[in-house]
């Protein structure tokens, strides 16, 4: 005997809502009463729905609420940091830049830094560093080297003179 698929086809074509199998229209009910296949299908669908709905459900752990509160606190703390008002952040940036500038002028005023173009504008001491040619010996050192060379030459001349005599 050929199986009847009337209800199945109706469900597949969404002509009959699977959730409404409990409220079958009267014209279909007559068919179901006479058709074992379709009656079986309706019964099965009701069972399937019941089985799924009655599955055991998980519940959150006891510490769920407590953990959530703690995580929210941490999250809000981070957000507060990130979302500081514009002027607050601008103030921090400006303070940083100001500190760098003041630091630069302070160091310059001690005479450690001198650019070749500026000559000795910032330097008050005798030491200077060229940013282009690298480190040069200080002027005082230059003088003393010159002096030492002269002493050596003098010594050499003296030695040669003695040797000649």
């Amino acid at each position: 005997m050929e199986k009847c698929c009337k209800i199945k086809k109706m469900i597949e074509n969404t002509e009959l809502e699977v959730d409404l199998v409990t409220e079958i229209p009267s014209e279909l009910q007559t068919h179901i009463d006479e058709c074992e296949e379709c009656a079986d299908l309706i019964r099965d669908l009701k069972s399937v729905s019941g089985i799924i709905k009655n599955t055991e459900r998980l519940t959150v752990s006891k510490s769920f609420d407590e953990n959530l509160r703690a995580k929210i606190r941490v999250s809000m703390h981070h957000n507060d940091k990130d979302s500081a008002p514009f002027f607050t952040r601008a103030f921090y940036y400006a303070a940083g830049i100001a500190a760098v500038v003041v630091g630069f002028f302070y160091i310059s005023s001690t005479g450690i830094i001198e650019s070749p173009e500026q000559g000795n504008a910032f330097a008050t001491g005798g030491v200077h560093i060229s940013s282009v040619e690298g480190i040069e010996e200080p002027a005082e050192m230059k003088d003393s080297l010159h002096e030492m060379r002269r002493v050596v030459i003098d010594d050499e001349e003296l030695r040669m003179r003695v040797a000649a005599e």
């Binding site: 469900i11 099965d44 599955t55």
Partner: protein, 195 residues
Amino acid sequence: MGMIEFKRVTDEELMFRFQNGEEACYEELVDRYKNKLLNHIFYYMKDRESAEDIVQDTFIRVYVNKDKYKEIAKVSTWVYTIANNLAKTALSRSSKMNAFSITGKDGETDYEIKDKNSSTDEPVLKNELNDIIMSRIDELDEKFKEIVLLRDIDEMSYEEIAALLQIPTGTVKSRLNRARLNLRDALSDYVKKMK
């Protein structure tokens, strides 16, 4: 917290009151959705701990972004969308994306279903049945599986499912119909036992 006080308050009203500073309304929303979301996410993650983490992250986002919620969408849609996105990110991060198109290859999935029954044999049978149902649902095509979970496990209305998945209500109905027919075949042994 005043459970009775909020019993008749809609989710949307709770959200509105929370946006206006009533923290208790947020706690009520958490109470309403925490277990539903846990079960929903668990079906994707297959791990209770990860699922619970995602549920917590979802509620943190709800809290932090409360002002971004607009009443044009239902709270449930908004909350489930956040949770789904987090779950998908977590799955892709842990290379478990195949869990969305389940094949049940290993058959070793550890479902930690809580059993409240004190009967000696019943918990075993119930857990076994739960495992079978879960694996049969998993075996469904992804689009059918989603609908079954949302309708039968999360007990959402057709309209809520349609809004969440951004598909027409008619499509929700037809997918649910097909999913149930497929499950009828997959669970035929158990269906017969129930007759």
